[in-house]
Amino acid sequence: MGHEVTLVWRDGREATIEVANGESVIDATEREGLGVPFGCLYGACGTCTGRLIEGDLVHVERPRGLKPSHRNEGYVLLCVAEPRSDCRVEVGATVQADLVPNPWK
């Protein structure tokens, strides 16, 4: 038994996948061939950043690549995140780019 996670891209595309118990969202997206970006796979690099729109998604390891303010804003690292309910999550490379703006601008 797992949970349904609906992935929402900024171009309007959506896909819903079943994430098994004990499975990270990234592992499930890879199994389904959905091409959600990832890097280190241990919660340090932030490449797999998504934004939780709805539902309960928990980090099973410390998401080092997110600052506390990011976590308060709903950003999640999908390589170390598992759903505890059905969820909707915004995904894609541009979500990560929101985390740290150009400091000189």
């Binding site: 280190c40 080092r64 150009n102 601008k105």
Partner: protein, 467 residues
């Protein structure tokens, strides 16, 4: 001889020590004058941080003007996994093994900066290379290391890789040693890390028994992107470290403070007699010279200071962000890139303490007048540099690091980056953008890619160290 072929036979390049053959060249001058023009370039191609569902690759670019596929990406050696962020790479052996029998420069060691996966590529035929071995991240983490960066072969049949983090992507890093025969992990190179916590690039001068290493930050700090709050919190480096190459012990820390924030690439002269060098401090945008003073104590001074520039649309003055530096094989010219401004500079460093700016090439970036070359929009700005062995062609790519690209040049993340070239006239001390040479990694097979570090089969200015 064609230096696109693995170099082994010493007679072909006028070797003085006929009894022992090995890869590379006996002197930097021999490499500069006796090797032929580069015909093939290996260029890192990345998909990390892009909505391109493909792995990173090592690209093969044709740089032979006699060829029908000149200035084209003619092959891609795809990685078996996604998400590696290939960054810097190196050879299994270089000119430091020139007197070592039985070795060839025929394998590329290709680490994934984000994945910590290390690939070994058989490149004995540069135009038909293939992956021979993969060291999985778990094997690296067993040594409490992650985030591999600089790869150098070292004398004694070993390969040493600087590692920026521990197994959790936190501090400290260290150095991973591989065996040159079977590419198995030996363990840590260093025996006493001293007060070194951060790591990045390193260079060694075996004749003087010294190694120097630089500092970026913890992987967990630089991976997600560049944040000035992290600089203020002291999470970015401002020091370099002197090591005893023989005992593998940390000897001294040179702390630069505000003058040397984020000291990245380090270059020592190719002449193995020299006991000095340069490091480019990216955020301070300074070039710092360091040298061995009396009693083996190392000293430093700032010799080049790139002024911040006011951008009409930005709130704060913008540093150049010196991201790569390079010394020509004759040690006469120092080149470096200002990735945020959009130029690459050429200095005459014949008088090592008084670099003289001789030329500058502007293209792309936030201040470059020229934003298009041969019909290709320049996404990014000059970044990773590689100079031909004869010092007459300077090539560069325009991507820095996926998350930092996405902050400063988001177009790269959508459309890929470029490889470009300037013709260099060392006798006249000038360079000129080659408006006919553009390799657009936006057109890479499978989708756009970021182009990063460049290496020549046969060795180059940033691979080879002489004993």
């Amino acid at each position: 001889m064609s230096t696109d072929e693995p170099s082994k036979t010493s007679e072909h390049h006028g070797h003085e020590h006929h009894e022992v053959e090995g890869p590379g060249y006996p002197t930097p001058a021999a490499m500069r004058t006796e090797s032929e023009r580069e015909k093939t370039a290996f260029v890192m191609g990345l998909r990390v941080g892009m909505d391109v569902d493909e792995p990173d690759f090592v690209g093969v670019v044709d740089v032979d003007p006699e060829s029908e596929t000149y200035a084209e990406l003619i092959d891609t050696i795809e990685m078996p996994n996604k998400g590696d962020e290939l960054h810097h790479f190196g050879w299994n052996s270089c000119s430091s093994s020139c007197h070592a029998e039985g070795l060839m420069r025929d394998h590329l060691i290709v680490p994934g900066q984000r994945s910590s996966r290390i690939h070994v590529i058989d490149a004995s035929d540069p135009r038909d290379a293939s992956i021979e071995k993969v060291i999985e991240p778990e094997e690296v983490f067993e040594h409490d290391l992650s985030a591999p960066h600089t790869v150098h072969c070292v004398p004694g049949g070993k390969i040493v890789i600087s590692m920026l983090g521990n197994a959790d992507g936190e501090l400290p890093g260290g150095f991973l040693q591989l065996d040159q025969d079977d590419f198995s992990i030996d363990g840590h190179w260093e025996v006493d890390r001293g007060d070194m916590e951060m790591n990045y690039d390193y260079w060694y001068q075996p004749r003087h028994g010294v190694m120097l290493s630089t500092e970026w930050a913890a992987p967990e700090t630089y991976y997600p992107g560049f944040d000035l709050d992290d600089v203020e919190a002291g999470k970015y480096g401002d020091s370099i470290h002197v090591w005893d190459w023989e005992t593998k012990e940390h000897q001294q820390t040179l702390t630069f403070g505000e003058e040397g924030l984020i000291p990245l690439e380090i270059r020592m002269p190719h002449n193995p007699e020299e006991t000095e060098g340069y490091v480019g401090a990216a955020l301070s945008s300074n070039i710092i010279r360091f040298w061995e003073g009396d009693g083996g104590h190392w000293e430093w001074e700032t010799v080049i200071d790139v002024e911040d520039r006011e951008h009409p649309d930005w709130d704060m003055p913008v540093p150049g962000l010196v991201t790569d530096t390079l010394l020509s094989l004759d040690d006469q010219y120092l080149f470096f890139s200002n990735w945020l401004h959009g130029d690459v500079r050429m200095y005459d460093v014949s008088d090592t303490g008084n670099p003289r700016l001789v030329d500058q090439c502007w293209v792309g970036g936030n201040f470059g007048d020229r934003q298009e070359v041969a019909g290709h929009e320049v996404r990014g700005a000059p970044q990773m540099l590689q100079l031909s062995r004869d010092g007459r062609r300077l090539y560069w790519t325009t991507s820095l690091f996926s998350s930092w690209d996405n902050q400063f040049y988001p177009d790269i993340g959508e459309e890929g980056s470029l490889m470009m070239k300037a013709d260099v006239y060392p006798e006249e001390g000038r360079m000129e953008l080659d408006e006919d040479f553009v390799v657009d990694f936006g057109d890479a097979p499978g989708g756009p890619a970021r182009a990063h570090e460049i290496r020549w089969p046969g060795g180059d200015c940033t691979s080879d160290v002489w004993q």
